[in-house]
């Protein structure tokens, strides 16, 4: 399957026009990560948007007393990485593949440029990204409440 097809099939880009998908695919490539391989580390340049097509990724933080703490897992058909949207474009967490993981890596600089040049595309992508961020924020709030224990 071509990168373009993989993007088109991914939930995040569903119903985005072929023309837009083609222009985005020009700045995308497939990446594979082995189990335990870091996809990115906290503090590094947030230079990509990852569309997970297979596998599972953990977002983690290293802490002095508790070691590595997994904050959330992200899997197939989900997106990894939102820090590329706002300055200073640095990853806030570590992302580690929990199993063999395949992803489409979209270059963030060019994706931002495409969004700036075509506000209709930018608006649609930002709306979807906001949806991802809201869902994750709500999930984190529930996690803080420890809802499985109340």
């Amino acid at each position: 399957m071509s990168v373009e097809d993989s993007i088109r099939r991914h939930r995040f880009f569903r119903d985005i026009s072929d023309e837009y998908v083609r222009s985005i695919a020009a700045h995308a490539k497939e990446d594979t990560f082995n189990k335990d391989e870091f996809i990115f580390r906290e503090g590094e340049d947030a230079d990509s948007l990852y569309l997970i097509t297979y596998g599972k990724v953990s977002l983690e933080l290293s802490t002095a007393h508790r070691g590595r703490v997994i904050i959330q897992t992200i899997d197939e058909d989900d997106v990894l990485g939102v820090s590329w949207v706002s300055p200073p474009y640095r990853w806030q967490f570590d992302a580690r593949a929990l199993m063999l993981t395949r992803a489409i890596r979209i270059d963030a600089y060019n994706l931002r440029r495409l969004c700036d040049e075509d506000n209709a595309l930018g608006y649609r992508l930002m709306k979807r990204l906001i949806d991802v961020v809201i869902k994750r924020m709500q999930a984190v709030r529930l996690q803080l409440l420890e809802i499985e224990e109340m």
Binding site: T73, L142, E149
Partner: protein, 275 residues
Amino acid sequence: MMEDRYNPYIPTVYKIKNVKKETYNTFTLDVEVNGFRFLPGQFNMLYVFGIGEVPISISSDPAYTNVISHTVRRVGYVTSALCNLKRGDSIGIRGPFGNPWPIDECEGNDILIVAGGLGLAPLRPLIYHILSYRSRYGSVELLYGAKTPKDILYNRELARWRARFDVDVYITVDKADSNWFGNVGVVTSLLHKVHADPSHTYAFVCGPEIMMRFVAKGLLEMKIRPSNIFISMERNMKCAIGLCGHCQFGPEFVCKDGPVFNYDRVEKLLSIKEV
């Protein structure tokens, strides 16, 4: 001569057959009974002599009527006493009480079961029943959320159910270290994995109230009909037959009208603090 009538206030004395440690603070008590019939979702009042009585859901297979199980978390005085019981000890049981999961009504539909923490216990008899009559149902999916990997109940059963080709089991935990290779996040984060047809799905939810509220919201967003969503409530039940009012929940008595409620019926009550 007086007729030997069933009196719901008088416990029957049974013997503990086995005590199984499920997690560091949760135990399953198997009780030797004789022809004890119940429906999935019903509960018993368990009486520890000299200590007190608590309502506990029945967590065993309804097909087995000679041994029933109750999964108990050590949280208070009576539950601690229950968890300290040993094989051969006596226990008083009143029951079964309450409204069960609608096992007949949901036949022919896809089944989605969502459990949080100890909420898997009242759902386990339902899962056993559905798996015993698997051909009567469409797809069967179980979403289970626990606080940490150490809090996961019924590990052996979960592994067995997961190994079946006709059931999808997804598990998540709220907190984990790097030794855990499963999902991390609240149980609502698993909802997007569900493949059931929303217009023909019955959803059964049990867990802490706040979890059930958010799961129900997610289910409604997926376009599952509110009338097809069932939740199991927990309140401080005492008499268990709807007389004392301890478990009043708005106009309902959880012990008699519940513990299983149609979401339609209790949706508004769930967000009222005073209720």
